[in-house]
């Protein structure tokens, strides 16, 4: 029980002993040809629909092109758009709105998600059933569910306001989750947390289950208290998994669009106008294509950087 016997050691050795160039002895395409034949279609699709547009975006970001006036003369403006965006206090304020959203959603989801995972890991009767139920919100369409949440948030008739007034005694028509400047940032945080806490929970659960029992048994022999076991075994062993969840939720919420676009569309005013919504307004409402391309490149680079760290974290978890 304490040590996992390695079942695959014999087969691994057998594999190592098998001649590598076995394919060369049989008919058919060479392995190299098959490798390229199998990879090329995928790469071509990604080149056409991801890489080519990306390069085009970079090129457009140095021009004043406008998609609604395709025939207007296009002028090269150099780094002007980048300069404008990166010194604009308004855009900086949008980034802070994004930061507020990212910070609080991650904090709440991590705390609640880890707590839930810890509780589920007590392995009470029927925990599998309840886990599946809890996971449902994260599988649903954020746009469609977000749209329904606007109904729950209605001041007089909404269920959310009714339940809050039921618990706290506040008049249900006295507050507007989506219409109030101070409440709307929290309205989107609540829905995102409702939707994505299960995601963090699921990954934390995997972390908890990856801790071998014998470590706890050894701690028990050393008479370590429960709290001490939690702090010095459970938390550190789960940390790579928590990091993975935090990074992924961070990337996802940094580029958040669907849920918030349907809940508030950036309003009231621009209190919940996150980076993606600013970008959409510049690109598809103001049609400042060059300017929004520069904005897009800035977001690309940030996410590409985070994705690098994410893959590093993935490999760390994979090694476990």
């Amino acid at each position: 029980m304490n040590q996992m016997p390695s079942f695959d050691s014999i087969s691994t050795r057998a594999a190592a002993a098998t001649p590598v160039r076995i394919a060369a002895r049989v008919r058919g395409l060479s392995d190299t040809a098959i490798a390229w034949l199998f990879i090329t279609p995928t790469m071509l699709l990604l080149l056409a629909i991801n890489l080519f547009p990306l390069i085009w975006t970079i090129q457009l970001s140095f021009t004043n092109y406008r998609a609604n006036r395709p025939n207007a003369p296009v002028r090269n403006v150099g780094l002007e758009h980048y300069q404008t965006i990166l010194t604009d206090p308004d855009i900086w304020a949008r980034m802070q709105a994004t930061a507020h959203f990212v910070f609080w959603t991650i904090l709440l989801q991590t705390v609640i998600g880890f707590a839930l995972a810890y509780l589920i890991d007590r392995k009470f009767r029927g925990h599998g059933f309840w886990t599946t139920l809890i996971l449902i919100p994260m599988m649903l369409s954020p746009a469609v569910v977000g749209n329904f949440w606007t109904f729950l948030y209605q001041p007089q008739i909404g269920l959310f306001n009714y339940l809050v007034s039921f618990v706290s005694g506040v008049e249900p028509a006295s507050f507007q989750m989506l219409g109030d400047v101070s409440l709307s940032p929290w309205a989107i945080i609540i829905v995102d947390t409702w939707m994505w806490t299960p995601y963090v929970m699921l990954i934390c659960l995997a972390g908890l289950r990856s801790i071998p029992d014998y470590i706890y048994e050894a701690a028990e022999v050393d008479r370590a208290s429960n709290w001490r076991q939690f702090v010095s075994i459970t938390l550190p062993m789960c940390l790579p998994f928590i990091m993975l969840a935090v990074l992924f939720r961070g990337i996802e919420n940094f580029k958040m669009f669907d849920l918030v676009n349907l809940l508030t569309a950036g309003g009231p005013g621009s209190t919940t106008e996150l980076a993606s919504i600013t970008l959409k307004r510049a690109a598809f409402e103001a049609w400042r294509t060059g300017y929004s391309s520069a904005f897009a490149v800035i977001m690309f680079v940030m996410i590409f950087g985070l994705a690098n760290i994410y893959v590093k974290a993935l490999n760390q978890v994979k090694a476990r």
Binding site: L86, P89, M95, G305, N308, I309, K312
Partner: protein, 71 residues
């Protein structure tokens, strides 16, 4: 760890400077990327926001480059 491990897969005569090996450089690139992202999102100074993009871009370039360096 700054000394070259004689048992590593590097050829003995490799002139690759120890400080430029993959692990420390990758850590530095990660710090740059994270710093850039924090600078973009922080609410304290506009000047940090202005240079956030350059910082992360540098980090990404470095990360891509050092992934080709020997361990």
């Amino acid at each position: 760890m700054t000394t070259v491990n004689p048992n590593s897969s590097l050829p003995r005569r490799s002139r690759w400077p120890a400080a430029l090996r993959r692990r420390p450089m990758e850590a530095l690139a990660t710090v740059l990327i994270a710093a850039g992202v924090l600078m973009l999102l922080q609410p304290f100074a506009l000047v940090l926001y202005t240079y956030s993009f350059a910082t992360t871009l540098l980090g990404v370039a470095m990360f891509t480059l050092v992934s080709k360096f020997p361990e």
